[in-house]
């Protein structure tokens, strides 16, 4: 039994950044820098004027440090501490707009829910420590293996606690209910980092503990936990997608999409865990898919949140209804948004396709009923992502009144967006390169580097189960356009611009423009109820609690009153009348005799 904490200095020295950590740390650094470039002009908005920029930047720095520390910590306690620093700093960032009730309420919900999850993490860590006697990650596998051998029940409890903690952070349904509130409330650069990276840190937890630790130590247990993880992933991916389709607010839409994407990644990780013992090659594909999707979604989702921020910066609203036709007014934002939307929709040749494609192979080809189901759910979720991506883009940039004038955001903001778009394109056309690098992050003997398929090119990915070369598709598409252009003849002149007519008058003259969300109501109707059904509601204290804990009322108060009462009664007895004393004596004697009888009997 451990009798004391190890010295603090020793604890604080446990850092190590392995390939797995780096796979999360590098996107973190990139996103944190990009969002930091975006933030200054964004925060100069009127609505943030009264907030202290120092507070923001201090929290932002802590936030970044916390995230990096969480992936670099090589010690359970340090991991927990970094985790909480990350949460705490992000809470301050979410609540940045202190006078806005909605933002603070969201921040509150966020912090409380994630803190409750941290408590689970803490308890799990304590159990691991108490059982294994070591806090370092080096001993983690040993501890897990020992637990699996000796105390499987306890191991499952620990894993269950870890599951709750990571699932909450990763926004998996229903534990991630904070997400749709917190992400919209935060300033856009913060939302970008929250959604791009912090949510992924929750998934890092899954990979670190379940894949890196557990799958190597106790494959059977890991496979068993793969099922609930994949199931949570499926539910989140589908419900999140439905909710995103139903949303009318840009950032709420993106927040639900984060839940959905997070669910997809969890699905991949879960599938990897399940498959690892029997089909290591497919497991590898699923896990690689999940990791690739983590990286690509980090860039895509961050970019989308920055775009949502830019839209809010210029239109003052987050509602798709209030926007529309912004393509000409904000060309840079529109182009980057287009890249991100097409990417998140999973259209080849853009980036999100790769991850989904690999996960699809990993799940369906396994032939396991549950995983095939997961594959179909993945398909549904993919189509939903197409729906909400197109809804977002068309609602903001295409539909509605055509806006004139230059509304483009300041250079720093546009620059940040462009940088992310470039990253997305880089990830898109060279999937083989990144997958090769990520396969190095797959841990342990099970998914070791030896299992990496050979012969993957930089531009083409070709496992036996599928093939994909995005650049070639682009070439074929371009060639097709060329042929078609030849076939239908050269355009003599540019098409003439006319106004949209309806019912005898031009749009904008007497007819109100079509609002984006109004025409996506079918989506709202058909999909809105799916997620909202299980949102958390405020808890009220039952009425009986208040009086029942008032000890003064039912113990001390009566005691004091009784004491005073006895005193007063005694006082009244002393009337000075002789015969009353005699009566008392007789009564006393009678009582005594009765008592004697009772005692003897």
């Amino acid at each position: 039994m451990v009798t004391a904490l190890p010295p603090l200095a020793q604890l604080l020295a446990q850092w190590r950044l392995d390939a797995l950590g780096a796979a999360f740390a590098i996107p973190t650094v990139v996103l944190v820098v990009v969002a930091a470039v975006y933030a200054p002009p964004y925060l100069a908005q009127e609505r943030y004027r009264s907030e202290s920029p120092r507070r923001f930047w201090l929290a932002y720095a802590l936030f970044a440090a916390g995230m990096l520390a969480a992936v670099a910590a090589w010690d359970l306690l340090l991991f927990v501490a970094s985790w909480e620093v990350m949460t705490l700093a992000s809470y301050v960032l979410v609540a940045h707009e202190t006078s806005e009730a909605g933002a603070t309420r969201a921040a509150f919900k966020y912090f409380v829910m994630t803190h409750a999850a941290s408590a689970c993490l803490l308890l799990a860590v304590m159990l691991l420590w108490a059982e294994g006697g070591a806090l370092g990650f080096d001993g983690l596998r040993t501890t897990l293996a020992a637990l699996a051998a000796d105390r499987p029940l306890l191991l499952h409890v620990v894993l269950g606690l870890l599951f709750i903690a990571f699932a909450t952070k990763a926004g998996l349904y229903p534990l991630g209910d904070w997400l749709p509130d917190a992400h919209p409330a935060a300033p856009a650069p913060v939302s970008a980092v929250l959604s791009g990276i912090m949510v992924k840190i929750g998934l890092y937890g899954f990979v670190r503990f379940f894949v890196w630790g557990l799958a190597a130590a106790a494959p059977a247990v890991a496979a068993a936990w793969g099922y609930p993880l994949a199931a949570a992933g499926i539910v989140s991916a589908v419900l999140g997608g439905f909710a995103a389709c139903a949303a009318g607010d840009t950032k709420v839409l993106l927040a639900y999409s984060s839940i959905a994407q997070s669910g997809l990644i969890a699905l991949g990780i879960g599938a990897g865990l399940v498959l690892a013992p029997q089909h290591p090659a497919l497991a590898q594909l699923a896990l690689l898919g999940a990791l690739f999707h983590t990286v690509s979604d980090a860039a895509v989702k961050a970019l989308l949140f920055l775009v949502a921020g830019s839209l809010q910066y210029r239109t003052g609203s987050r509602r798709l209804d209030a926007m529309g036709g912004l393509f000409h007014a904000m060309p840079v934002t529109a182009w980057t948004a287009l890249a991100a939307c097409l990417a998140i929709a999973g259209f080849p040749p853009l980036t999100a396709f790769t991850g989904k494609w690999l996960m699809l192979q990993g799940t369906v080809l396994s032939g396991s009923a549950l995983l095939v189901g997961a594959g179909i759910a993945l398909l549904v979720a993919s189509v939903l992502s197409i729906l909400y991506a197109l809804k977002f883009f068309s609602g903001a940039f295409l539909a509605g009144p055509v806006r004139a004038g230059a509304l483009e955001v300041p250079a720093a903001m546009a620059g940040a967006q462009v940088a992310l778009a470039v990253i997305i394109l880089a990830l898109s056309v060279t999937p083989g390169l990144w997958l090769g690098l990520l396969s190095g992050a797959l841990p342990g003997p099970t998914f070791g580097a030896a299992a990496v398929p050979s012969g993957w090119g930089v531009f083409a990915v070709g496992p036996v189960t599928g093939s994909y070369a995005p650049l070639l598709l682009v070439v074929a598409g371009a060639w097709t356009c060329g042929l078609a252009m030849v076939a239908i003849g050269r355009r003599r002149k540019a098409p003439r611009a006319v106004r949209t007519w309806m019912g005898g008058s031009a749009l904008g003259a007497s007819l109100a423009p079509v609002s984006a969300s109004g025409f996506f109501v079918p989506m709202r109707e058909q999909m809105g109820g799916a997620y909202a059904g299980l949102r958390f509601h405020a808890v009220r204290m039952p009425a009986w609690v208040v009086p029942s804990v008032n000890v003064d009322r039912w113990v001390f108060g009566p005691a004091v009153r009784a004491g005073l009462g006895v005193g007063a009664a005694l006082q009244r007895m002393h009337t000075g009348t002789a015969h009353r004393y005699i009566i008392w004596q007789l009564l006393g004697a009678a009582a005594l005799i009765t008592l004697l009888f009772v005692v003897r009997a």
Partner: protein, 505 residues
Amino acid sequence: MSDAVVWGFLLLVLVPLAGALLVRAAPRRAADTIAIATALVVAVVAVWMVAAYGIRGASLPLGGLAVVDRVLAHPVALFGFRLDALASLVLLANALIGVACVIYASAYVGPKNREIPASDDRRSFYFWLLLFVGAMSGLVTSATLLQLFLFWEITTLCSWALIGYYQEEHGALAAAYKAFLMTGGGSLALLASVIILLAVTGSVDFGALAQLSAGGRAGLATVLCVLLFVGAWAKSGQVPFHTWLPDAMVAPSPVSAYLHAASMVNAGAYLLLRVVTASGATGPGTGLPSGAVTLALVMGVLTLVVAVAQFSYQTDLKRLLALSTIAGLSYVFIGAALGAAGSPLAAQGGALHILAHGAGKGLLFLAAGTLSYACGTRRIADLSGVLRRQPVAAVGFLVGALTVTGVPPFAGFWSKFTLISGAVQLGGTGVLVAVVLLLESVFAFAWFLWVGHRVFLGTPSPAVEASSPPSRAMDLALILLMVLCLAVPLAGLPLASAIGLGPGR
């Protein structure tokens, strides 16, 4: 035994006493200077003592009384001073938070206070406060139960005087009287326990109970334990004596922060830890009787639940904090009980929690005090948007809340982590207790955050709009405590790790 140790112990008790007398006699203007200087000297001495002897340990036996020796037919050590890791933690809390509170009080108690404007003459206030500092130092460094009891009664007296300081304030005298009755009544039980112990075992050492239990008289030992617990519960406002502490919130905020959060109320918890660490874990023939340990554990958890259950309907910020204090102290009681049940980590965590919680809760009270000072109200409903007006208090409140609820990297995390890990190590019931503690942490956290949101964020309410700026002294005190909240683990963790179970130390 060097002279330095002797001087150290003497200074700890005598400097505040002297300061108290001096401030009483000095002119009104010099009172602040004298009081702050005294507190600073005590703090310096305390820090030095802890640094020098905290882990190594130091003691100054003073022997007993001839009369008693004769009656019991052998020499009994009735008095003496001792400093070890456990005492160091509490001493640090007492001395460091003491400085902050005295500095704070120099601005808070006076005519500028919008809630309760008071006279500029703070001499009697300082008198009681410094007297209390001395008494508490003595209490912490006492080597025997008897000496501890004597200082104990002095702190009760100081508490009575300070709660009733605002005599004109509605309910102040009644609250003071109530606190005095309840804590005083409790100490009668403690006295009884000490006297019987002395009569039966011929010792007033902290380990005497364990000897009694080991000596085959577990029944009597249990009864004495319970009597001793009653004293400790009453002092620390634990169930069923938890009702005086919220009422005592009519006292000036620095008093609430110091006596009723950081220092005096810890006495009961400290006593228990003292007895537990001196007794060792329960086991066949050793340690405290298991029945008493179970009772302590059960009452600790009960207190926790009862206190937290009352959070939800509090309208007064300080009453809420008082309830939270009750809950916080129950951690220490639980830690002690778990320690007695065999987990040294839990006892260490409990000890560290005294310091961590003291710093955090002191900070919370002072932050709340700043609000009532500046805005003239402590009602949660009347306050909102304070962040814009009183940023230091707001940040202080947040830091305090994060500290007492155990969010890393603040002090409370380390103490709670150690304590709960200890509970988890015990397995079985320990894990259940750990779950309850974590649930409480989360709930308390949520509640504090919610109150914090209501009070500090949003648009300023009329009361806040009209608020006056806080004084520098008050902000300084807040900042000191914030630093403390972060710095506690640095010194506290090594000290706590040095606490072991059993008479060996």
